[in-house]
Symmetry: C2
Subunit: 239 residues, 2 copies
Amino acid sequence: MSDADFEAVRKSTGTALLPPDQAISHSLSRAIHEHKLSPGIKLGEDELAEVYGVSRTVVRTALRTLAHDRLVEIKRNRGAFVAQPSPRDAQEVFEARELLEPRTAREAARRASSADIEKLLHHVAHEHEASTEGDRGLALYLSGQLHVEIAKIAGQQTITGFIETLIARSSLVVALYWRRESAICGHHDHESLVRAIEGHRPEEAEALMKSHLVDLHSALDLSRPRAGSGTLKDLLTGV
Amino acid sequence: MSDADFEAVRKSTGTALLPPDQAISHSLSRAIHEHKLSPGIKLGEDELAEVYGVSRTVVRTALRTLAHDRLVEIKRNRGAFVAQPSPRDAQEVFEARELLEPRTAREAARRASSADIEKLLHHVAHEHEASTEGDRGLALYLSGQLHVEIAKIAGQQTITGFIETLIARSSLVVALYWRRESAICGHHDHESLVRAIEGHRPEEAEALMKSHLVDLHSALDLSRPRAGSGTLKDLLTGV
DNA sequence: CAGCACAAAATTGTACACAATCTGACCCGG
DNA sequence: CCGGGTCAGATTGTGTACAATTTTGTGCTG
């Protein structure tokens, strides 16, 4: 009966089948992952409402969702801003990843099905492709998502959820504290890691993940707190 | 000028000085901790709006917050319900706790200041008092909060956040899968744990935390999935 | 010209109203 | 007697209007 109308609604909504507020939070989240939105940028409600063609109500719930994941910071009566993790936050995020992810990689290597492996290989290929084509944003996004995929394979949904938020925050950390411009994220690391999972070698996967994270961590420069707390500094330091 | 009105509003809101939606989510969260709200109960928006004396708008944001912490489940166009973790969820929650908390306890034992220890001792005393007075709800709440306090002392805010959500979910797990009615949570365990922290014995604190969690975990009966998915079963099983 | 006070604009917070959707009961035909 | 369909009631989803707060701009005063 109402299937036709339903279809029409789905098309008009745009992204289809998922609630509008989730569509928006995903869109913003991805934009942050891709470094299209820099830390500190203000996310005005009216502005976003117009962009996405919905009312402020929906935008607000999306912003609250992102705030809960620490991707944006909501200051009462002042608005929502893309979060600026402090050096300490950055440190903690990577410490937490170093605690959770190696174990996850090990478990993934134990449990990975052929379908899982297929997906990982495809993912790495896609990532490599994006990188060589110069789509830095997409490459960054996929680089993070690989870690999420591995966590999913390990089968612990709860911990996977934690890792997802850590990876999201990591993209902010990278935006603020990354030292060298080139060599975004060792493709070689990812490749050998996936290969260890493919070969069902848990110990190796765990070790590779650990060293991979330590490498990333050591590539950060946490000495200079580019994220003060106000907007002044950002403008003065030139972003 | 409007200070008088402001004060009136603050008093009517009850908890004062924190945003109304947070006050509500905290209130609901605590009610869940204290097992005053059982898993599966429907949290109607109009109902809550009237109870707290605010509009549905505010209630909705509070419910979204709780949903993000997996304390309530929001079913689209159907409403918000206190979550019913599946046996698998329960398993995962405790596995995650066994991974995170022992390490946290060790770090807490290393870093605890005298003020921290003071607070822990006071906390344990309060917990014991509530327990002997028969205030099961308060005892449950404090029992969980002790774990949070220990995590805070360890100084890793990010991981503390994870633990907070895990503890909240644990209270739901306990409500659904707890086997024996008596012996809520070994006070002896908590006491010796705090003493190990007080004496700055990291290894012992870690071991005690680990065994404490294993004990709790083993006191669950995950065989019978009391949490189907619908409201039917609940009514039939009587709750 | 600097500093402060006040006022206007812009933005967020909350309440309310309407639209969309789900639930349950009732009715009717098989 | 049972199953399907339709309609009414209730509940959630979204848009909009208004209130509160912050910010910015202006003008006065020392």
